[in-house]
Every structure is written in structure tokens, then in C-alpha cells.
């Protein structure tokens, strides 16, 4: 089996699973309980928080555990917009965000917020000037992803952060679900106020994630209840999930440097080999893109058919993002980049992990060649 769909989700590290099982069975107390079992659970939770904070170079009090990227994005965007609604009702985002950002924005639109959806250039990148021009006196939140989940384009977070240093009252949310461990980013230096993480994208478990909320930034919580996570996220804490996430993040960061180099080499190999394919169009930009995502179209081939053809060889790749691929709509990101619909419909995404190898990439290339030839014969 060759798994090349790591932007959809990753295989949890065995060590991460072990931690989860041990904590769940040995330290199952509720951190809010007063007895010593509660105390142990609380200790584990705060140690997990410290470790995640240290790995992100922020303070432990700025880390809030959530159920993953979607929840973090929702708390960040809705929580910030709602709490600041008396100051303004204008939000800015890009037209290539993840569904959980887009849908949250649309929901806010329905209750009276105004949203500016910034266009992107042919590489899928937002322009800092556009951000600047979109800012109004009543702008309260700007949400821009660090790495696009479909084509891998890196957004100019640093430049936007620098721009926003002049607008201290605007909250800057960055969705780093695809970028963490693969594209280094400093939250403080980039003036990020809110940042979403999802553990299952870096070999943690589904249902675990975190939101960074910079000290001083205030949000309205979305859940009402027992006021866990310093009132930001009610619900009994998922201690085992938090511990396993801390472990997954540490292992990811430990391997990050070598992993990035490895994925970059594989991507270069894929790019070189694929460019000789008939009717190929590569969507992932050469410069300013993440090392692990590679998106391209094979002209005249229906993506879905192609994916099933590869699957017969034990190869798993993806059409667009996993969250929207079932809807059978064309990739929003590619359309926003100006790619014609017919080409966008035949787009594939290969997404790598640190553990993938060049040998695997060569096998995938060979399988793709074979499948493309066969399918073209049938379809023509």
C-alpha cells in the first residue's frame, strides 16, 4: 500500500496510540475532580499543554484543547466576531479557505456580518495589498490560512502580520492545520492572535486539536457548560487526546527538518517526472508552496475514475480536499486561481508524510502512466 493522501489524514504514530491507551486506562480521572485521580489527570493535561506551548514557542496559558481543526476555526472566527460585534461587523478572509472557515463566515453573513472574500492570483496566493485595501474601520477579524489544503500554496502570513501591526484591534486568525511541522511559522513574530491546529494531520488522533489564543485576545465561547479550558471550551477534557496530541506534535517537530527535506525531494521528483506526461497541468506553484502537497490535472481524465484505477494498485491519492470531494463540486481553490472548470474537474492531489519515499513516488508515477494510457484508450 502506498498512502499519498496525508493532507486528508495521517496514520497515527504507534507511540501516540500507546499514550492514548495508557492514559485512557490508567489515568481516566476527571481533571475537575478533587481527589488524587483528578489531580493526576489534571497534571497530565497541564503537562500536555506545556509541551504543546513549548513546541509552538508560546505560553501554556495560550493553548486551548479542542476537538480539531473545524472546531478551532469555528471558535476562533465566530467567537471573535461575536464578542467584538459592537465594535464592527466586517470580516476578511480569502476565497480559498477550508470549508470550516468558509461555512463559519457564511453563517455569520446570515446574521448580519459583512464578509470580504479576497481573490487569489494564479498561484492561489492572496495579495497583501488586497488585504490592506479591504480593511475598514469596522473590520474586527481577518482569517487567512497558512497553507492551502488543496494546492499547497503558502500564504504571505508574515507580510499580513506586519501590515496588521498597524491595526492592533483587528484579530488575526491563521488556520495552520496543513502547515504545522511542514512550514515553520513563528506565531508571535507574525502577530498572530488565533491559530488552529488539528492533530490527525500530524499523526495524532482524530478528534484532537488545539486553538492558540494570544494572551489578551478575547473570544466568546461557543459551548456553554462546565467552563473547562478556562471557560473557552466546556466539556470534560479529553486528557488522553491532549497527551497523545502533545506526543504527536513532539515527534513531528523532532523529525521536521529531515522530513521537510525528504518531502521536498519527492515533490521535485514527482514534478520532474510528471511534466513529461501528456496533457498535464501542474497547479502547485514551484515557489512558495508547502513541501507535502502536489496538485495537478491530467487533461481529459476524470479524476474520480483515475483515483479508483490507482487504488487497484494499492495507491491512495485524492481528488481535491477530502472535506469537499464527496460533494462532486469542482475545487474552489482551483477555480479561484482561474483554472477552467474542465481542468479543475480532473485535478489530483498527492499529499506526503515524512515517511514516504522516492521509491514509492516512482511506483506511483509508473502506475499513473499505466492507468492514464488505459483510461485514455477507453475514453477516447
Amino acid at each position: 500500500m502506498i498512502y499519498f493522501d496525508n493532507s486528508a489524514t495521517t496514520k497515527p504514530y504507534n507511540e501516540v496510540l500507546d499514550s492514548f491507551v495508557t492514559v485512557s486506562s490508567k489515568y481516566f480521572g476527571n481533571p475537575s475532580s478533587l481527589h488524587s485521580m483528578g489531580g493526576q489527570a489534571e497534571k497530565l493535561l497541564s503537562q500536555a499543554r506545556e509541551q504543546v506551548a513549548k513546541l509552538l514557542s508560546v505560553r501554556p496559558s495560550e493553548i486551548y484543547f479542542t476537538s480539531g481543526g473545524t472546531e478551532s476555526n469555528n471558535i476562533a472566527i465566530k467567537g471573535a466576531a461575536l464578542l467584538n460585534r459592537s465594535r464592527g461587523r466586517h470580516l476578511i478572509t480569502s476565497s480559498v479557505e477550508h470549508a470550516s472557515v468558509m461555512a463559519a463566515m457564511e453563517q455569520l453573513e446570515q446574521v448580519g456580518f459583512e464578509i470580504t472574500y479576497l481573490p487569489v492570483d494564479e498561484y492561489g496566493r492572496v495579495s497583501v495589498d488586497d488585504v490592506k485595501n479591504a480593511i475598514r474601520p469596522d473590520t474586527t477579524v481577518i482569517s487567512i490560512m497558512q497553507v492551502n489544503n488543496e494546492v499547497g500554496t503558502i500564504q504571505p502570513i508574515k507580510e499580513i502580520g506586519d501590515l496588521l501591526k498597524k491595526y492592533p484591534s483587528i484579530l488575526f486568525h491563521v488556520d495552520t492545520v496543513q502547515g504545522i511541522g511542514k512550514v515553520p511559522m513563528n506565531l508571535y513574530e507574525n502577530r498572530v492572535d488565533l491559530c488552529s491546529l488539528s492533530a490527525h494531520k500530524f499523526h495524532g488522533l482524530k478528534g484532537t486539536g488545539a486553538l492558540f489564543i494570544r494572551e489578551g485576545a478575547r473570544l466568546a465561547p461557543l459551548f456553554s457548560g462546565g467552563n473547562q479550558e478556562r471557560q473557552m471550551r466546556s466539556g470534560t477534557e479529553n486528557v488522553a487526546g491532549a497527551v497523545s496530541m502533545a506526543k504527536a506534535l513532539r515527534m513531528t517537530m523532532d523529525n521536521s527538518k529531515a522530513g521537510i527535506n525528504n518531502m521536498r525531494e519527492i515533490q521535485t521528483l514527482l514534478r520532474g517526472e510528471l511534466s513529461s506526461f501528456e496533457g498535464v497541468q501542474i497547479h502547485t506553484p514551484i515557489n512558495g508552496s508547502a513541501p507535502h502537497i502536489f496538485n495537478f490535472s491530467l487533461n481529459g481524465l476524470k479524476a474520480e475514475v483515475f483515483i479508483h484505477a490507482l487504488e487497484q494498485d494499492g495507491i491512495f491519492v485524492s481528488t481535491t480536499s477530502a472535506c469537499s470531494s464527496k460533494k462532486k463540486t469542482s475545487s474552489k481553490t482551483l477555480l479561484a486561481m482561474g483554472v477552467p472548470e474542465t481542468i479543475a474537474d480532473s485535478a489530483f492531489r498527492i499529499s506526503l508524510s515524512f515517511a514516504n519515499t522516492k521509491e514509492e513516488a516512482l511506483m506511483v508515477i509508473a502506475a499513473m502512466k499505466k492507468a492514464a494510457n488505459q483510461l485514455r484508450k477507453v475514453m477516447n
Binding site: L44, Q47, Q51, P60, V243, R250
Partner: protein
């Protein structure tokens, strides 16, 4: 350009006359403890300077640690070069080139503590300045507000180059002012008081009153965690845990309710003073802030303080709560202090404690019962923990992370 050492300038130590060697030795110990995670680092101390030789350790991380060491006025990453004008020229050029961005300005601040060097300060200015201007196109001089300030210190043994001065934590090296007992409750104030006392050079041993089952293991853990934060300053800290249940019950039975708080504090102070004697301390540090609560009015302090004439140091006495909270945040104790567990001060709180207790009255109430044997018993049964910077319990969980 890689710095190979960090030059440390002493704070007030420099004014301490004949005690200077002692102070320098204490500072050197503090620096060693702070830099324990970097095994290759070497610390060299002289009368008026200290050098941390990096030996390949990460300079940025070392600087992060040094920022918290008391007794350091400022420090600079530096390069040591031989006393040779050509070498000096060459290294200066490399250093400034590595920092220079298009259009920036510079100046040279020479200092010649060894007058035997062939060039005087003007000469250094000329030789090095000229060399830099010739070799870096676009570089300009600005003596008032330069982007790069190249400091050249000529000393007997060598010349030191540096471009940056980083402010240190100030204060005096821990232990240089002697030893005191810190009454550590678990609240926000007492750890801050301990921190400030340490900043003035005190070595601290913490005293905590523990009343099981009225206060839980978790409230004790909270105090252990607070102590660990303070241990971070000096590697380790002693924590004396006093069994206090019996005394608190006796007070409840013997003393009128509105005076029970006053007597409780007097007992705590007497016990702390006994421990102080045993441990050869010379003072007691508390987190009291004038008028903050009933026990911290001037009348209360007057009534409570009667039981000892040991100096009681109250670093927070004139500070507002908001300022105390700010420091608690900086030293990372606020979150721990805010954990919601009962401590010895919050149980048995009378509904209306006296804010203006009288000495005569409290003495009269206490005269009907002999507390002395109970105090002796409590002191004998004190449990003393040595709290290290690194949590051992944490390491039990190590494999999970």
C-alpha cells in the same frame, strides 16, 4: 558571524567593596545553576566581569536563561580576539558585515581599560572605523543614533567585540543577602513576595501550613508546584510542610470566632520563627499587602507581629493587587495560584473577622489555653521537601509524552 562568549556586567555588586569576591562567587553559582542544561558552557569570573564561554551551545537559549539571573545588570554576546590591530580589523569587519543591512549606520565605542595597548581610543576609532568604511560600501557613520554600535573593549588579556547590550534582571545574586523563611500559602501574593525577596539576594526556604483533611493533597501539590517555580531561579528550594490541623481545631474551640484569624496568624508566625531558628535564617518573608484583607490591616499586623521580633520582610506591603498580579503572570505563578483548592487561610474563615484586633484581647483569649506544646509538636513533625527545578513526578509520565 558566531559569538563565542557572553560577557556579563555585574549590577550593584560592583559597589560592594571588600565583600565583592563573595558576591561574585554567589553570582557565579547562580549562573551555573541557570545554565545547567548546557553542559559545554564554561563560566569564567573575574573581579569586574564574568564570561560565559559557549563552546558550541546555542547562544540564544543561553541568553534566555541569563535574563532571569539576579545580580546581572546587563550582558552582551561577544567575540574574543587577540590584541593585534590587524586581527581586530579583520574580525570587526566580519562582525559588522554580518549585521549590516543596506543603508544602515554605525559607530564605534572603544574602551581601553589597559592603557598599554598600542592604540588609544581615538586611534581605535580611526583604524577600525576607516577599515569598515573602506570595505563596506554604503556604510555611514552616525554617532548619535547608530543602527550598529560596535563596542571594542581592550583588556589586559584580550580584546572583546560586541554589538548588543541586553538588560539583565538586576538585583543581587541569590544567597548574597542571607537566608529567610517564606510563608507560602498557595495564593497569588506569597510566591511573588518570595520572588522579590530572592531578587534582593535572599536565599529562601518556604513554609506551608497543611491541615488535612480540611485542605487536600491537591492544595499541597499546588504549593509544591509554586515552590518549583521559585526553584527555577536557584535550582532547588526547601519546602517545610507544617501539620496544622490540631492547632486549627484548638483555635476553633478556644478562641472567639472573630479573633480566630488573628490567633491563627500568630500561631503560624510562632511556628515559622521556630523553623527559622532551626534553619539559621534571619528573617521571615510574607506576601502581606497593606489593607488587602482583614489580617493585613495595620492593626492586625500590630497584633500579629507581637509574637516575634525577628525581622518580617513584606516586599509587597505597598503594592496594589493589580501590580502583584502582573508580576505573578511574569514569573508564571498566577495560573497555579488560581487553582481552586482550599488552603489553610480559606478554611475556618470567620464570617466577620476583626479588622482592628487588640493586643490585650488576643493575649487574654490565648491565655486560657497552652498552645506551646502544640507548637512544639507541629515543629517536630514538619515534613521537609527539597523541591527541584525538574519535577520527578513529571518524569513518571515522561514516556507518555
Amino acid at each position: 558571524m558566531k559569538y563565542d562568549r557572553i560577557l556579563i556586567r555585574y549590577g550593584e555588586i560592583s559597589t560592594k567593596g571588600r565583600n565583592r569576591n563573595k558576591f561574585v562567587e554567589k553570582l557565579r553559582k547562580s549562573v551555573r545553576i541557570a545554565l545547567a542544561p548546557f553542559p559545554n558552557v564554561k563560566v569564567e569570573a573575574s573581579r569586574d566581569r564574568m564570561y560565559v564561554l559557549l563552546n558550541g551551545e546555542n547562544g540564544k537559549d543561553v541568553i534566555g536563561k541569563l535574563k532571569n539571573v539576579f545580580g546581572i545588570q546587563s550582558f552582551s554576546p561577544a567575540i574574543k580576539v587577540d590584541r593585534d590591530v590587524e586581527v581586530l580589523k579583520q574580525t570587526s569587519l566580519e562582525l559588522v558585515t554580518s549585521l549590516y543591512n543596506e543603508g544602515e549606520t554605525f559607530k564605534i565605542t572603544p574602551k581601553r581599560s589597559d592603557k598599554a595597548f598600542e592604540l588609544n581610543t581615538d586611534g581605535i576609532n580611526h583604524a577600525i572605523g576607516g577599515h569598515l568604511l573602506q570595505n563596506i560600501p554604503g556604510l555611514k557613520v552616525d554617532v548619535k543614533n547608530p543602527d550598529i554600535n560596535l563596542r571594542i573593549e581592550v583588556r589586559k588579556e584580550a580584546i572583546y567585540l560586541s554589538c548588543e547590550i541586553i538588560q539583565g534582571a538586576g538585583g543581587l545574586p541569590v544567597g548574597s543577602s542571607g537566608k529567610a523563611m517564606l510563608m507560602l500559602s498557595g495564593g497569588i501574593d506569597s510566591p511573588v513576595a518570595g520572588y522579590m525577596a530572592m531578587k534582593r539576594g535572599l536565599e529562601i526556604e518556604a513554609v506551608h501550613f497543611f491541615s488535612p483533611p480540611f485542605t487536600s493533597e491537591r492544595s499541597k501539590e499546588k504549593v509544591v508546584d509554586l515552590s518549583r517555580k521559585l526553584a527555577g531561579i536557584y535550582g532547588s528550594i526547601k519546602l517545610h510542610i507544617v501539620p496544622f490541623t490540631n492547632i486549627q481545631q484548638a483555635i476553633r474551640e478556644q478562641i472567639p470566632e472573630n479573633y480566630s484569624m488573628t490567633t491563627t496568624r500568630r500561631m503560624m508566625l510562632r511556628i515559622t520563627d521556630e523553623i527559622r531558628k532551626k534553619q539559621d535564617g534571619l528573617a521571615i518573608v510574607t506576601g502581606e499587602s497593606l489593607g488587602q484583607v482583614a489580617s493585613q490591616t495595620l492593626e492586625s499586623m500590630y497584633a500579629i507581629n507581637e509574637v516575634t521580633n525577628t525581622p518580617i520582610l513584606r516586599p509587597l506591603i505597598t503594592m496594589d493587587k493589580t501590580d502583584i498580579i502582573k508580576i505573578a503572570q511574569e514569573i508564571d505563578t498566577l495560573e497555579i495560584s488560581n487553582r481552586p483548592f482550599e488552603d489553610c487561610c480559606t478554611i475556618f474563615v470567620p464570617s466577620s473577622p476583626k479588622t482592628k484586633p487588640k493586643r490585650e484581647k488576643v493575649n487574654r483569649y490565648e491565655s486560657y489555653f497552652d498552645f506551646e506544646p502544640m507548637i512544639q509538636e507541629a515543629v517536630e513533625k514538619v515534613e521537609t521537601l527539597v523541591i527541584k527545578q525538574v519535577d520527578e513526578q513529571h518524569s513518571e509520565f515522561e514516556s507518555l509524552f
